[in-house]
């Protein structure tokens, strides 16, 4: 009888043992590479940061940043200037929960050259310990927002994002006979009554926020993927960066509609202008380079799929020859709508530069 129990115990132990174990990683053929990261914008100095790749296994280490590389800039094939290093400063007031060691202390920037649309910028970066790397991007031309219309609309209450949304309709014309890539973002400056101000009852907290995400839309251009079988079975990545192409609207005028959710922002309808509350909303249409589009799209896809059993991992796009990272550009046009007045004389404003949407980290 005892033997029977022993057999049973052994059988159960073997059957339900953990199917996970640590194995040795073979790193013989792997050599570190230089990393270049930089998005350039029209009428701005060109700036990048340079770092290196690090092996994944082992004790967690911060990234190594390189501040002694030689970075040469070529504009339309002609050498223009050598980038110089500069100290990157951070406003740690709101972000002090992220350690400083994770960020580059120094970057490289041009002293005179500002990015212009239609021009091609190439960087040649050399360092004695690494292969010389090259990267190139062309700054796309600005696509102008022709008009913007807004209405408030109540969304289906069974939807988890239910409530009053601001529906924005944006009109623009896609340049014909060229491949165009876009991104939609918005910035908000929101002033709401400071309910903790029990003294004056008149102060307004101003939240200064940039939103790269958080747009809800069923527009076929913004969300061209149709709902299909695998969407239901496995899901698909969100359009995290609000990217779209001009493929379906080549050369045409187009009206794009999307909702801005009140989930992260006081409802447009609920702003009490009589108390000094206000909302200033700036919608920005970015015309991005193909590199930028592929990079952002693959970052989003890789975050979604890379831990997915069913999918081949997505390698993030890079246009850095002999290295990795991204060197890409964008130009932009924007339109602003406002409810309420800002600033109003006599009101005490307390500004909180949130700078980005921090409630939910995008990847």
């Amino acid at each position: 009888m005892k033997n029977k129990y022993l057999f049973l115990i052994i059988a159960i132990t073997v059957l339900f043992q953990s199917c996970e174990k640590e194995i040795e990683f073979s790193s013989e053929t792997i050599t570190p590479k230089l990393v270049v990261n930089g998005f350039i914008h029209q009428d701005s100095l060109i700036s990048i940061v340079v770092g290196t790749t690090k092996l994944i296994p082992g004790v967690e280490k911060a990234f190594t940043w390189i501040d002694n590389a030689t970075v040469k800039l070529f504009v339309d094939g002609i050498e223009k200037e050598t980038l110089t290093t500069y100290d990157i400063s951070y406003d740690t007031t709101n972000f002090n929960y992220f350690p400083d060691t994770t960020r580059a202390k120094k970057g490289y920037h041009t002293l005179t050259t500002q990015a212009e649309t239609g021009k091609t910028y190439r960087l040649e970066i050399s360092h004695p310990n690494y292969k010389t790397i090259n990267c190139e991007t062309t700054l796309p031309k600005t696509v102008v927002i022709e008009s913007i219309d807004t209405i408030t609309q109540l969304i289906d209450p069974k939807n988890s994002y239910s409530g009053t949304h601001l529906k924005v309709t944006l009109k623009f014309s896609d340049p014909s006979n060229e491949k165009n890539y876009y991104r939609l973002v918005y910035k908000s400056l929101l002033g709401v009554v400071n309910t903790t101000d029990t003294v004056s009852h008149h102060s307004i907290i101003v939240y200064n926020q940039n939103f790269g995400t958080d747009i809800d839309s069923e527009d076929p251009v913004l969300n061209p993927e149709q709902e299909n079988a695998n969407d239901l079975l496995l899901g698909t990545p969100n359009n995290t960066y609000n990217l779209f192409t001009g493929d379906y609207i080549d050369g045409k005028e187009y009206e794009m509609s999307f909702f801005i959710s009140p989930y992260y922002m006081k409802s447009f309808r609920d702003i009490d202008t009589s108390n000094g509350e206000f909302l200033r909303l700036t919608i920005e249409l970015q015309s991005i380079s193909e590199d930028a589009y592929l990079y952002m799209k693959s970052v989003s896809a890789s975050n979604y799929y890379n831990n997915d059993l069913f999918s081949e991992p997505v390698q993030v796009y890079t246009n850095i020859e002999n290295g990795t990272g991204i060197f890409a550009g964008y130009s932009s046009d924007s339109k602003t709508i406002q409810k309420g007045e800002y600033p109003i004389a006599g009101i005490n404003y307390q500004i909180q530069n949130q700078g980005f949407y921090y409630f939910y980290y995008s990847y």
Binding site: E20, V59, E60, F63, Q226, E312, F356
Partner: protein, 813 residues
């Protein structure tokens, strides 16, 4: 003049004017069941001329008149010898009797041909009866899982039945069930194949040297024929296993005239999962349920009108179903906090897929040298997803319903006619033509919103991809020519013409196989074959998902073409031991792979923008030592191979290993009969680790304006260093099975025990980065936590199936 010479040659070919010749023809059958035996050998002792029975057991041989000794043999059956005085054409139907094994037990070996004799190379006949004895996961015998144990065949994900032949992809295998293509050969995401072993008569795998009668896929043909049904008496078999049960019946409707075969099986994972849901629901106060199962039926009826004419009707119906539902009821106060609101919601989800296959085949003997076969076939694969969400505000009496349906599939109607022509013993000519109408339905969705709520609009819309019709005409001719007793060739041509969307793709596919017999027991072989494929499979993953879509070729993505050369040798040793060694080199063009960052995910919309065109190549050597009869039977197979792909826009244009590229593959399969009552079998497999795309380095992510922190980069992005850049540890396992047979009053009872992965090897299924360490202890002196072990990132391997015992019961009558 030229015309006359041609006429004379034709007469010579057909009449063979080297003396008067007479033709002996007929059918070779199993004496007990009346089942026709494929590839049985017919040989004349004095003239040393011979032939083999075709796929319908028909043979025809023309011999010089006079006294002749005809020897009919088939492995596993008693050889029969006929002394004949030939002076006119005769019909000789030959029933062969099963050979009793040394232990007195009847051992059926299945169709087996002499590897040294036949021109065909790179093909393997799977012994159906042995298949039942080979231990497999959960004790469920499976045709494709046995094929996975053959040289030149790589497996996909562990436990699944996907096959990768000589560097080809999962879409490059043509599965034929009674001559009808099967588009999705998987049940339960690939854990079972659709071919029920109880219904199968013969299985033949072609990896190269393809005869001209086959076409349509680049890498392999798995030709499976269903049992015709016993013409003599009613026979049956039923079995009960851990996750499925099966029942098979076969017998005469009119003795020796009409017979039937019926086989059915069903899995019961849905029933087995019920207790788990019950436990979950009781613990979590939830109402969730779900499950998955499949069932399938094979049916075949055949009728012999007369010696010349026979009709077969065969069909397969298979259905997989997965389902789930949740329901919920909750209450809340309304916005004014005045009224309690009651809401009910219910979600139903279901998916189903399956193949329907039918064929109507008419064998007609036009003359004793010309056998015809006219066939009408139908093949349909369909996949469907339904999702339904119902929401009811009981208090306010409002209802909304969202429903979504999606279906995709492919449907073929085919008419074909083919002939076997035996003009002389030196020629076995096969020719024929077929027409297929394809209907591709690459994903149509129906979305419906209905509601009484004031904010929901009624929507009922259908969207997706249009149906695509395509027509395919193909024809072939092949001749198995005996040039001398030592030299035989099989030369053929397959011509295909595929028409879709006003485009026509004509592909000429030459085939050639040569056999040089050095001695009675040793031959050398070589072959060349070109294959073309007119369909692409859009698939996202390594496992068989029912959402995988078949689509026709397009102008941009033309038919993939493969060219394969192979050389090899076959040697017969005493005691029925055969050795085959082959080397191959194969190139493949117009292959498709997904663009990096692109995903298909069940939609064919703009699929051409999401894939890249490239090429691949594979080369290797295969070795197989097989013992076919005796107390101990089995094989040892070894494959060395290398498979790469190259796409201009993938992996920076550099070649990369294909997903199932493996340098070494070994399988050892042994079955041993101790006595009439007990037999045992074992399988050991070894394979080089799969190539996987594993992140090896990290690098800082760029600051994406408006979204990320300025230069924030604590985590970073993964750098892979290339597609399929990393090798998993090697795969190996041992499976053992033992069968106990007992004669009962009405039949034989078999109790089978098997253990999968006996030594409990944790084989790699997936690699993933994990962590260890990072332990801290509180130091009361300083009041701080001190790190005891540093936090480290380590590579972790996940395994799927460790030791799994199983049991099944079957009864054969």
């Amino acid at each position: 003049m030229k015309k006359n010479i041609l006429s004379c040659l034709l007469i010579l070919l057909t009449l063979n004017l080297f003396g008067q010749r007479v033709t002996i023809s007929g059918y070779i059958t199993d004496k007990q069941s009346g089942e026709r035996l494929i590839s049985a050998s017919v040989y004349e002792k004095n003239t040393l001329q011979g032939t083999t029975a075709n796929n319908y057991g028909f043979y025809s041989i023309s011999l010089p008149a006079g006294k002749r000794t005809l020897i009919i043999s088939f492995v596993g059956y008693k050889t029969q010898t006929f002394e004949l005085e030939l002076n006119q054409d005769i019909t000789l139907n030959i029933p062969l009797e099963l050979m009793a094994s040394e232990l007195g037990e009847i051992t059926v070996i299945g169709n087996k041909v002499n590897k040294v004799e036949e021109t065909q190379m790179s093909s393997i006949d799977v012994q159906v009866q042995k298949l039942q004895k080979i231990p497999v996961i959960l004790g469920e015998a499976d045709v494709l899982k046995v094929i996975q144990l053959l040289p030149g065949v790589q497996t996909g994900t562990e436990g699944t039945s996907g096959i990768y032949v000589r560097g080809g992809g999962p879409d490059q295998n043509l599965f034929l069930l009674d001559g009808v293509p099967v588009y999705n050969a998987s049940h339960l995401l690939g854990f079972f194949s659709v071919f029920n072993p109880d219904a199968v008569k013969t299985i033949k795998l072609y990896k190269g040297g393809f005869p001209a009668r086959f076409g349509g896929r680049l890498s392999s043909v798995v030709d499976i024929s269903m049992k015709d049904g016993n013409m003599k008496e009613l026979k049956g078999n039923f079995s009960i296993g851990i996750i499925s049960s099966k029942l098979s019946l076969e017998g005469p409707i009119v003795k020796d005239k009409t017979s039937f075969m019926l086989s059915a099986r069903r899995t019961y994972l849905d029933l087995l999962s019920k207790p788990f849901f019950w436990y979950f629901n009781s613990k979590n106060d939830a109402n969730v349920n779900g499950g998955a199962y499949f069932h399938d039926f094979n049916l075949k009826v055949n009728h012999i009108f007369n010696e010349r004419s026979r009709l077969y009707l065969s069909g397969y119906l298979g259905k997989d179903k997965g389902f789930g539902y949740t329901s919920d009821e909750y209450n809340y106060l309304d916005e004014t906090n005045q009224e309690a609101i009651t809401n009910k919601s219910k979600t139903d989800f279901g998916l189903g897929w399956g193949n329907n296959i039918a064929s109507l085949r008419w064998n007609y003997l036009l003359s004793n040298k010309l056998f015809s076969n006219t066939t009408l076939t139908y093949s349909r694969y369909r996949f469907q997803v339904d999702s339904d969400y119902r929401y009811e505000n009981v208090t306010k009496k409002t209802k909304t319903e969202d429903s979504f349906k999606y279906y995709s599939g492919i449907e073929d109607w085919t008419a074909k006619i083919d002939f076997d022509f035996f003009p002389t013993p030196s020629h076995d000519i096969k020719f024929g033509a077929s027409y297929t109408n394809h209907l591709f339905s690459p994903g149509v969705s129906r979305l419906k919103f209905e509601g009484s709520s004031d904010i929901v609009l009624g929507i009922d819309t259908t969207f997706g991809n249009r149906d695509i019709y395509a027509n395919e005409i193909s024809s072939f001719i092949e001749d198995d020519i005996t040039i001398t007793d030592h030299l035989k060739i099989n030369a053929g041509l397959h011509l295909s013409d595929f028409m879709v969307d006003n485009e026509t793709f004509i592909r000429i596919q030459p085939r050639l196989s040569i056999r040089l017999k050095a001695t009675k027991n040793w031959s050398l072989k070589a072959s060349y074959s070109r294959m073309a494929q007119h369909v692409h499979l859009l698939t996202t993953s390594g496992i068989n998902l029912p959402t995988d879509l078949w689509l026709p070729v397009t102008k941009k993505f033309e038919p993939p073409i493969s060219d394969q050369v192979a050389i090899g040798t076959a040697i017969n040793f005493p005691k029925s031991i055969e050795l085959t060694i082959e080397g191959f080199y194969k190139t493949m063009n117009n292959l498709i792979e997904y663009k990096e960052g692109a995903s298909f995910m069940g939609s064919a919309t703009n699929w051409e923008n999401k894939v890249e065109k490239g090429k691949g190549w594979s080369y290797g050597a295969e070795f197989m030592l097989e013992k076919k009869i005796g107390k101990t039977t089995g094989w040892i197979a070894y494959t060395w191979s290398k498979t790469e792909r190259q796409f201009e826009n993938l992996n920076f244009g550099k070649p990369f290993p294909a997903k199932y590229d493996r340098r070494h593959d070994v399988s050892i399969v042994i079955t041993h009969e101790f006595n009439k009552k007990v037999d045992m079998s074992g399988t050991w497999v070894y394979g080089t680790g799969n190539a996987v795309t594993l992140a090896v380095m990290k690098y800082p992510k760029a600051t994406i304006p408006y979204t990320d922190f300025a230069y924030y980069s604590s985590d970073g992005l993964d750098d892979y260093g290339g597609r399929n850049n990393y090798r998993m540890p090697a795969y190996h396992r041992l499976d053992l099975g033992i069968n106990f047979h007992k004669e009962k009053k009405h039949g034989t009872r078999t109790l089978s025990f098997s253990v999968y992965n006996v030594y409990n090897r944790q084989n790699p299924f997936m690699l993933m980065w994990g962590s260890k360490g990072g332990e801290y202890a509180y130091d009361p002196n300083t009041g701080q936590y001190i790190e005891i072990t540093p936090y480290k990132t380590v590579l972790k391997q996940f395994s799927l199936f460790t030791l799994i015992p199983s049991i099944s019961y079957s009864f054969k009558f």
